[in-house]
């Protein structure tokens, strides 16, 4: 059974003097929601374009569902919303979906009605696409990506142009898509969105793979976490905590201490202070967000490339 739905091996796309995707090797497992993160121009959309057969790689290879690319039928198991939602403006939303359903040769008209409802276009499905707002166009794009119940869904900035309520709806929808055997590859510049929705992320910068893994693991491995504590005697605590080797750093921050150390060693920390008759009045673990991690790694990646 093909465990990986996407595998790329040294995938490269070069446009004259610009390298959009550079030696990218990544693996995406079946049945999860993956985030594809990267600054603007990092090569996210080009990567999706390569995987969808819209662009030809300059070098390197990739496979979908364990089969090498170039196998046209593989794309029949894929649904995609890439960049903007582009449809036929003189057709209604419903007719647009009907056309794609017709040429795919899958699904029924009943499926279209339920899809239109599912993405929140009920009541507007029979209006012409050219009359849609940007958010409605995005919703239709999401509906198209789900047409025919694909095994792999590419979503490139799906919440662009949606109102806050719409964003929440779509996030819930994406989360639900990742349940079971379907895989979702979500590209977004909204990092908190990715953090909320995705199980794993792949971070690229300047076309290169910077990091890949589960969101929680990436944050955990991003460096030591911090703990803010208030004690009965902060000066004495500062002295005491400068000694243990497992504490990377400790500093005074207003009326509290900021300690850089693994959160799971908090008990040892409080015990050490208590032994010296310094008691902890308040202890707050400070976890890094994906956003901080992202900024850290992409900054490092950029430096590395310069």
């Amino acid at each position: 059974m093909d465990e990986f739905v996407i595998q790329t091996d040294r995938l490269t796309k070069r446009y004259k003097n610009v390298v959009a995707v550079d030696d990218l090797s990544m693996e995406i497992r079946r049945g999860r929601v993956y985030g594809l993160l990267g600054p603007n121009g990092s090569g996210k959309t080009t990567t999706m374009g390569l995987l969808l057969g819209l662009q030809a790689p300059t070098s390197g290879t990739f496979s979908l569902f364990g089969y090498n690319h170039g196998h046209r039928d593989l794309l029949r198991r894929v649904g995609a919303l890439v960049e903007n939602s582009s449809f036929y403006p003189y057709l209604s939303g419903y007719q647009n979906l009907r056309y794609f359903q017709m040429i795919s040769g899958r699904g029924s008209e009943g499926e279209l009605e339920s899809l239109v409802d599912r993405v929140g276009l009920a009541g507007r499905g029979h209006d012409l696409f050219r009359t849609y707002s940007y958010g409605m166009k995005q919703r239709l794009g999401i509906a198209l990506s789900l047409l025919g119940d694909p095994d792999l869904v590419f979503l490139d900035e799906p919440t662009n142009g949606l109102d806050p309520e719409g964003m929440i709806e779509v996030r819930e929808l994406i989360k639900s898509l990742g349940d079971g055997s379907r895989t979702v590859l979500l590209s977004s510049h909204l990092l908190h969105e990715v953090e909320q929705v995705c199980d794993s992320v792949t971070i690229i910068s300047k076309g290169r793979l910077i990091a890949q893994g589960e969101v929680s693991q990436l944050i955990a491995t991003a460096g030591s976490e911090q703990i803010r504590i208030k004690t009965t005697d902060n000066s004495k605590a500062l002295q005491l905590l400068s000694t243990p080797g497992w504490i990377e750093d400790v500093s005074m921050d207003d009326d509290s201490l900021l300690i850089t150390a693994p959160i799971e060693r908090s008990a040892e920390l409080t015990a050490a202070l208590a032994n010296a008759e310094v008691y902890v009045a308040e202890m707050v673990p400070i976890r890094k967000s994906l956003e901080e991690y992202f900024l850290e790694v992409t900054g490092r990646g950029n430096e590395g490339l310069q």
């Binding site: 794309l75 449809f87 017709m102």
Partner: protein, 354 residues
């Protein structure tokens, strides 16, 4: 594979029939065809039933024994000998020599078949007017606009990315579009034929046409021969549109733009059909190149036949029918291969705007 192609053609038709473009182009074709039919009807009545000769030009010769006058109509109807009969043998030779120069120059190619005299009478009116419409070159321009737009709009709207990402296959998509263009051209012909039938019936029953028969089979023809000629003509016309369909599509793939694709196609057509031939006529050697031009070959290919009159009117060197078939095939294949190769290799980007 055939089933997949048929599905794609069905999908293309699903989209195309909801656009204004094919209907507008059809309206233009119908209008021009009807203009010919009713134009001949009007001329016929203005000349008080003398015929449907639209040629004003005539040739006059004053000999020792008589003065004769020859019109294009006489020439096309084979009445030349009858007209020059009053002249002496020597004078007849002079006139025949002069007529062989005057005829091709003055009598338009439009009038190269006897059927033209029946332009509003069934059954010749069915395709006679369509033939004239095709000789104007307009249908070829319209079919290029259709094929260019069918593909170019997808670039403009950015829908090509979505279509290709559904795993349809690039060459399959192009093939479906090209086949649909041929089918649409067939549909146009069917509509034009039906309307010509209706108009011919109307022309036969409305005043002042009492006494004019609704159906007149040309002398020497039978229903079977007429219908067979129609069938052959329709088939030849459709074959003749294929290189132009490929030409329109090729320029769109090259430029990735509908407007630029249409412009280049039309410029190429006009240059090749209207500008180059007169330039080639400067010398006899250059005139041979004319035989390799697409437009000359298409014109020869769709011609209704080689009647005596048509042969008499042929001026410049024109290719024969087999050569015309092969040249059209060669142009079609070369452009098809070029456009498929280019389309297969090109990266697809987002919307470019209409």
């Amino acid at each position: 594979m055939i089933a997949h192609l048929l599905t794609l053609i069905e999908g293309e038709w699903f989209k195309l029939r909801r656009r204004w473009l094919p209907w507008i182009l059809l309206a233009v074709m119908v209008l021009v065809s009807q203009a010919f039919l009713w134009g001949f009807y009007a001329v016929y009545h203005m000349t008080e039933g003398e015929g449907t000769n639209t040629f004003l030009s005539d040739y006059q010769y004053t000999g020792g024994t008589a003065t004769i006058q020859v019109t294009c109509s006489d020439l096309l109807d084979g009445r030349l000998r009858e007209r020059i009969h009053p002249l002496s043998k020597e004078e007849r030779l002079i006139v025949e020599g002069e007529i062989s120069e005057w005829g091709p120059k003055e009598c338009s190619d439009y009038a190269s078949e006897p059927e033209k005299f029946f332009m509003f009478v069934l059954p010749t009116s069915i395709v006679g007017n369509i033939y004239l419409v095709f000789l104007t070159g307009l249908p070829f321009i319209l079919i290029m606009i259709l094929s260019a737009s069918l593909l170019g709009s997808e670039y403009g709207w950015g829908t090509l990315r979505i279509v290709i990402s559904r795993g349809l296959g690039r060459w399959q998509l192009i093939s479906a579009k090209l086949v649909l263009c041929v089918l649409v051209a067939s549909g146009w012909l069917v509509v034009m034929v039906l309307l010509n039938i209706v108009s011919s019936i109307l022309a036969g029953i409305i005043p002042p046409d009492e006494g004019v028969s609704l159906i007149v089979i040309p002398e020497g023809d039978t229903w079977a021969s007429v219908l067979s000629a129609f069938g052959k003509f329709i088939g030849k016309v459709l074959y003749g549109t294929v290189p132009y369909i490929c030409l329109g599509a090729f320029f769109v793939v090259l430029t990735q733009s509908t407007a630029q694709g249409i412009s280049l196609s039309v410029i190429t057509y006009v240059a090749e059909a209207m500008v180059v031939p007169p330039l080639l006529a400067i010398s006899e050697k250059l005139e041979r190149i004319n035989e390799g031009l697409l437009s000359s070959n298409v014109r020869e290919w769709i011609s209704l036949g080689d009647s005596e009159a048509a042969v008499a009117l042929k001026g410049a060197e024109t290719p024969d029918i087999l050569q015309a078939f092969l040249v059209i095939l060669a142009y079609s294949l070369v452009m098809l291969v070029a456009l498929m190769w280019l389309f297969q290799r090109r990266d697809l980007s987002g919307p470019k705007g209409e």
